[in-house]
C-alpha cells in the first residue's frame, strides 16, 4: 500500500477589521464615487456579507484580490484562473445562503461588487 500524504488543513483566516484592508478601502471609495452616499451606512449588511465570504473562502480581502490579479510586464492584469475560481466560489456560496432568491443575489453581488471595484470584471448575469 502506498503512503499518501494527507494535505494539511489550512488554518482559518484571521480577519482584521475589514476597512483596514486596502482592497476594501478601494471598494468603498469606488462605491462612494460611483453611486454617492456612504456605502457603509447606506447598506449596513455590506461589510458583514463580505466578511462572511472571506471566512467561507478562508482568505482575507487583499488575498482575494492578489489571487485574481497579477503584474505582468509592469501592468496589472486579471488572473483568469483565479477569477474563474472565485466566480464559481461566489455562485456556490450564494446558493447556500438561506432565504429568498433576492437575498441570495444580494450576498453574491456584494462580493462581485468588491471584485469589480478592484478592477476584476466579473459578469454574473441576472440573479433574479
Amino acid at each position: 500500500m502506498s503512503e499518501q500524504e494527507t494535505p494539511t488543513p489550512e488554518a482559518p483566516v484571521e480577519l482584521r477589521a475589514l476597512q483596514e484592508y486596502a482592497s476594501v478601502r478601494t471598494w468603498l471609495d469606488g462605491l462612494r464615487q460611483h453611486w454617492g452616499g456612504d456605502p457603509v451606512t447606506d447598506d449596513p449588511e455590506r461589510l458583514p456579507i463580505m466578511e462572511a465570504f472571506c471566512v467561507h473562502a478562508n482568505r482575507d480581502p487583499d488575498q482575494i484580490i492578489k489571487e485574481t490579479t497579477m503584474i505582468k510586464d509592469g501592468e496589472r492584469r486579471i488572473r483568469l484562473k483565479g477569477r474563474e475560481r472565485y466566480s464559481k466560489l461566489i455562485d456556490e456560496w450564494q446558493a447556500q445562503v438561506e432565504g429568498s432568491r433576492i437575498r441570495k443575489a444580494k450576498w453574491g453581488n456584494t462580493v462581485r461588487s468588491f471584485l469589480i471595484h478592484n478592477g476584476v470584471l466579473l459578469a454574473s448575469g441576472m440573479q433574479t
Binding site: 460611483h34 453611486w35 433576492i102 453581488n109 461588487s113 459578469a123 448575469g125 441576472m126
Partner: protein, 262 residues
C-alpha cells in the same frame, strides 16, 4: 422618425427587456437596410446569422457569453452576428461590377465596360487585392457600413440596439458558418428596459480634433447655425452628464430589478 433624429436617438443599449420579444419583421427590416448599403465594387461581403436567444440551447448561450458582454447577451432577445464573407470576390469574378455597368450605374462616361472589368479590374486589381494582407481590413470597412444601416433601422423601428464583440471562434462553431467567413460584431436587439435616451447623448471628442479642411491640422470650420439646425432636427440631444443623479437612480433600479452587482 426623421433620419437625423434616428442618428440622434441611437444609443448603445445595455439594458434590454429580456421578456419582451422582438417582432420578426423588424429584424427583417434591419437586414433589408443592410443589404442596400454602399459597398466597394458591389462585392457585398456582409453576412449575418440571426439568433433568437430563446431558441439557443443553454450550452450555446453560455458559450456565447464573454465576461464583458455576457449580461447584454442574456438580456437581449435577438442577436445578429455579422461576418465578412471573404470568398465572395473570387467566386463572383467581377460579375457584380458588370451588373452595375448593365444598369447604368457604371458607364463608359467614367471608363467602364464589361471588357474593362474582365480584362483589367478583376484580374489586375480585385483578384490580387483578395490575396493581399489589406483585403480583410478593406472589406470589413464595408461590412461596417451595412451593420450601421441595420443598427439605425433598428432605432427607427423603436428598438434598442447595441454592438458587442463576442468570441469569433465560438460564433463560427455555434452557427456553423463557412471557414473563410471572418466573425465581426454582433448587434444585440431588444426593447430597452432603460430609458431610450440612456442618460443622454454620449461624450465624443471635439469636432475640431477629428475633421480637417484642406490639410491635417486645419480644423473643418464648424458653423454654429448648422449646429442649431441639427439641434432642431433632434440630431443633437441633451448630452449625458457625469454622475447624473437621475441616471444613477435609473441604473440602481435596473440593478435591483435584474439582480446585478453595484
Amino acid at each position: 422618425m426623421e433620419f437625423k433624429e434616428v442618428i440622434g436617438r441611437r444609443r448603445s443599449i445595455r439594458f434590454f427587456d429580456p421578456d419582451r420579444p422582438v417582432e420578426h419583421e423588424k429584424i427583417q427590416k434591419m437586414l433589408e437596410a443592410a443589404r442596400l448599403a454602399s459597398c466597394a465594387v458591389n462585392a457585398q461581403w456582409a453576412r449575418a446569422v440571426v439568433s433568437f436567444r430563446d431558441d439557443l440551447t443553454a450550452d450555446q448561450l453560455t458559450r456565447l457569453k464573454t465576461p464583458v458582454a455576457g449580461l447584454n447577451v442574456d438580456l437581449a432577445p435577438v442577436h445578429i452576428h455579422w461576418f465578412n464573407d471573404l470568398g465572395t470576390v473570387q467566386r463572383n469574378e467581377g460579375r457584380p461590377l458588370k451588373q452595375l455597368v448593365d444598369v447604368g450605374a457604371l458607364a463608359p462616361t467614367h471608363g467602364w465596360s464589361h471588357k474593362f472589368v474582365d480584362e483589367f479590374v478583376y484580374p489586375q486589381i480585385l483578384k490580387p487585392l483578395t490575396e493581399s494582407p489589406a483585403y480583410a481590413v478593406a472589406s470589413t470597412f464595408d461590412v461596417g457600413i451595412a451593420v450601421c444601416q441595420a443598427l439605425l433601422t433598428g432605432v427607427d423601428e423603436g428598438l434598442g440596439v447595441g454592438l458587442v464583440t463576442l468570441n469569433g471562434a465560438t460564433l463560427k462553431e455555434v452557427f456553423k458558418v463557412p471557414a473563410d467567413w471572418i466573425p465581426l460584431s454582433t448587434i444585440l436587439v431588444g426593447y430597452p428596459s432603460e430609458s431610450w435616451d440612456g442618460g443622454g447623448q454620449r461624450p465624443r471628442p471635439p469636432f475640431e480634433d477629428l475633421y480637417f479642411e484642406g490639410e491635417y491640422g486645419k480644423p473643418f470650420l464648424r458653423d454654429s447655425a448648422v449646429i442649431d439646425e441639427l439641434t432642431r432636427a433632434k440630431m443633437f440631444q441633451e448630452p449625458a452628464k457625469p454622475h447624473d443623479p437621475k441616471r444613477i437612480e435609473e441604473i440602481k433600479k435596473l440593478a435591483e430589478k435584474y439582480g446585478l452587482p453595484m
